[in-house]
Symmetry: C2
Subunit: 410 residues, 2 copies
Amino acid sequence: MESSTAPNVVGPRQYRNNEKMIAVGDRGWLRAAEDGLIGIKVDFDSNNRLIDTAHNHEFMVLCSCSYLGLNHHPKILQGAIDALKECGTTSLSLSTVRIRPNLLVRLEEELSSLYGGPALLGASCSALSSGILPLIASGHLTEDGKPRVMVFDRFCHFSMAYIKPICGDESLTLTSPHNDLNFIEDVCKKYPRVAYVADGAYSMGGLTALEGLLQLQERYGLFLYFDDSHSLSIAGKNGEGYVRSRMKMNPLTLIVASMAKAFGTSGGVAMLGSDKIFDFVNRNGGPLAWSQNMQIPSIGASLASIALHRSPELGQLQAKLQRNIALFDKEFPTKTAGNGMPVRLLPVGEEEKAVRLSKELYKRGYYCSAVFFPIVAKGEAGVRLMLRADMEEEQVLAFCATVKDIVANF
Amino acid sequence: MESSTAPNVVGPRQYRNNEKMIAVGDRGWLRAAEDGLIGIKVDFDSNNRLIDTAHNHEFMVLCSCSYLGLNHHPKILQGAIDALKECGTTSLSLSTVRIRPNLLVRLEEELSSLYGGPALLGASCSALSSGILPLIASGHLTEDGKPRVMVFDRFCHFSMAYIKPICGDESLTLTSPHNDLNFIEDVCKKYPRVAYVADGAYSMGGLTALEGLLQLQERYGLFLYFDDSHSLSIAGKNGEGYVRSRMKMNPLTLIVASMAKAFGTSGGVAMLGSDKIFDFVNRNGGPLAWSQNMQIPSIGASLASIALHRSPELGQLQAKLQRNIALFDKEFPTKTAGNGMPVRLLPVGEEEKAVRLSKELYKRGYYCSAVFFPIVAKGEAGVRLMLRADMEEEQVLAFCATVKDIVANF
């Protein structure tokens, strides 16, 4: 038996609190589990159809980040196969700081050329954030070498928010209200060196306040770190993403993005402001120096994806996606309508309704996830959905009609 | 200009200190860079030969963790190709909490059967540690649900040490001297709930103090978390690794391992003590619930690797590796000789000698890395090397003779 004077071991809970977060988060998951909406086991049919094999139920998935449908593009699959055959190995199983397969070097070179600046690869986008953010906090990626105050946007992706306690051990780490330029400017006025950590395109459909941030960068030397995973390949002439297509790279900006979404393969890419940073991060990026990096099939698939990015097909797919987004926005003019991003939150009011909508949609052949408090405000529960280029016009319209039909009968 | 009264933003540096660590670590990397021993760009030839294409220099790599040579096994390469063709996609690009490809489910089932207990998959072993360790700290993986004091072995792999500040925000987090059972027992006496975080087989060649730890587990209910990446596939009848082959799973033990080393593919596997933990971690494992998980080629390669694990070939490869280790240990009876692990530290004395040895070895066709203070004690610098099953007897002997020849001429 534990005595009542047992020492208290609970941490400071300065940046996280599992007790609180999991109580809330797991409620959502268990709710979805009750309705059979998690742990669905599927076969991939073709295009965007999946088959729930346990129930022989075919459905369209509207929660996949493969916004251009490149995850099932024949040329990308063939790229993976060709690389396996050419290299004769799945990976070298060693640190790529020491030894780099030429195919990986080629991929870095082609991505650098595609995005116009040094590109560093990681096993995933979260591995890149894990490796890079603490180096920004400790001042190792900026000229003066001094620690920076880290300001994380309250809505930045979990993969970055997760790193807060690590950055917090290196330097003062704060959380800002979402897109709150005044808050960030106040921090810049108070401290000489500040970095702001945010998504470029947010996973709930919104965008970063880029223009205002660039002004703060010019005025105060604000370092900007963006995870632009949700817009890579879908925005910009070369698919360089929302942020990169709207700014020139500079030594005070760093963009990371997942290649496992619209790009169609796996791994993560960091767009850097200088070659010097490339070498330094490569050597001292912690998780980036461990022995698991991009595997040969993923490198091959990525080279094939770059070839597609350089062909007219990219523009065609981007246009098709934009057509589908516009079709949806016309039917449902939500808050983020017109911003060109494929993620949409469709509010229906109370949590109960959101859960019923998501359940009924699945029954009728569409998988979207219900979102409710605390992900969105109370009374603004709804479903989150992701549009894709590999949906035909009539599929988008049929989906919209189905949602309307269900909601009308609530 | 910054005023001398500028506010101090340096973090508490309770668990890490980039300023100090990078000064030391980068010195090592830059030293290796000077000698052309990092950033080598290679093609994979066959077996364990690499070609430094810039210098047309062929060499044997002795820093690869593919201890059984499975990374270039034709059946594993074919497994990846078959899965791509069968599934027609590189991945579904969505959270596997929601929707799981049947091929991933099959892999989980086969690994569960191979290792005798629930197996959970992650995009990498470090993603598993990132997801699981904070849940142990906050008490979410143990029956009583109360926070645990986290004791990290001083030598545990960076991928776990990295998580210290995150665990430290949830509960009291300590670092123990290496394999120090007395230290751990003292913590167990002071606190009712403790978890110990360690490698099974260490990346520098040693082993965990398993027997003593199991006694502490029985006596104090100590939770044991092992990363056994370096022994997976090479130890145990089914390749279940050093720790798992010496103990029965129980709810107070959790083993993670990388599949990108001897297993020959990529991703990470967690061996869990109960199905209940599987479901909970799957839903609340943070990084494990994000949309990047094992890709289809890696799943296919892994299924092929399991088939090999179930055939007599596994035993043959394990035996060949053990023969090579024994050959080496006979020539160089180092501290860890006889422990059956493939990683060896070959001490030569001063740092200068270690660097020269590594450089000269590379010239003569072998890549091993020099290690020196602070990785090893002063005066015990040397080279670190990894033996493999895909080395012939004469290759091991030729390597040993080369080392002796170089050292004799120092």
